[in-house]
């Protein structure tokens, strides 16, 4: 089991990064191209967009995680460097989206 921990770690981090990146991409797309009503005119809606985006991100993360796991099993150094670099890019993207496209 201990031998699998590094690959499982990379898979978990890749899954979490997928949730973060898909969240900000979905919100960015909605803000730029979506035709959402003015929040001041909406009394109530059943769809909670934030939870919806997180659910879609979790679904995508479930698809990415096995790929990241097998990549880490084949080439751990490459996979670790990839997630470490991706984390910084995704963090910058998420903050930029939150500020510019709320």
């Amino acid at each position: 089991m201990r031998a699998r921990v590094p690959a499982l770690t990379v898979a978990a981090i890749a899954a979490l990064l997928t949730i973060a990146s898909s969240y900000s991409l979905l919100r960015g797309y909605d803000a730029l191209f979506g035709r959402e009503p003015n929040p001041a005119t909406v009394i109530w809606s059943a769809k909670i967009a934030m939870f919806w985006r997180l659910a879609i991100g979790s679904y995508l993360a479930g698809m990415i995680a096995p790929g990241a796991y097998f990549l880490a099993r084949r080439n751990l150094n490459f996979a670790v460097l990839a997630v470490a670099r991706a984390a910084i890019v995704i963090a910058v993207g998420l903050v930029a989206q939150a500020i510019a496209l709320p």
Partner: protein, 148 residues
């Protein structure tokens, strides 16, 4: 019901600032990649999870009772709250990544890879702490304008 929401909102706000403090600790001590700080990391992640869970629990009531009024009375603050939501997602995810990276780093046999994981943990906690400060400041500024 309103009283309960008000209490939950206040607890959420105070927990939020405690979370900032809890996140700052690993962000500082993990500068040294050889430093192990499991308790600090787990506590920080626990605070983030607790604050996030409480925020998520009262979020549907915020949408039902406050969001429209906030956007009518102070639209800029409404958009600030939207920013807070997105940034809070980032805090939760990067705190979790930092926790996973720090706790699993000893399982990496290669020194170079272990060092990358340790640096990743530190960077994630720095990101989470910095963004959490923004989230806290935005939360307070919105709560001053409109509350349950």
């Amino acid at each position: 019901m309103t009283l309960l929401l008000r209490i939950a909102e206040h607890i959420h706000g105070h927990l939020g600032w405690l979370t900032v403090a809890a996140l700052l600790h690993p962000a500082i001590v993990l500068r040294n990649p050889k430093r192990r700080a499991r308790l600090s990391v787990v506590l920080a992640a626990g605070f983030v999870a607790l604050t996030w869970a409480l925020g998520a629990a009262i979020y549907p009531e915020y949408r039902a009772r406050l969001k429209q009024h906030l956007f009518i009375e102070a639209p800029r603050m409404g958009w600030m709250f939207e920013r807070k939501e997105h940034l809070a997602v980032g805090v939760a995810i990067f705190a979790l990544i930092g926790t996973i990276a720090h706790l699993s780093a000893p399982a990496f046999d290669d020194d170079g890879t272990r060092a990358v994981m340790s640096r990743l943990a530190h960077r994630c906690f720095v990101i989470a702490a910095a963004v959490a400060i923004l989230v806290g400041a935005l939360g307070v500024s919105v709560a001053v304008i409109r509350s349950f």
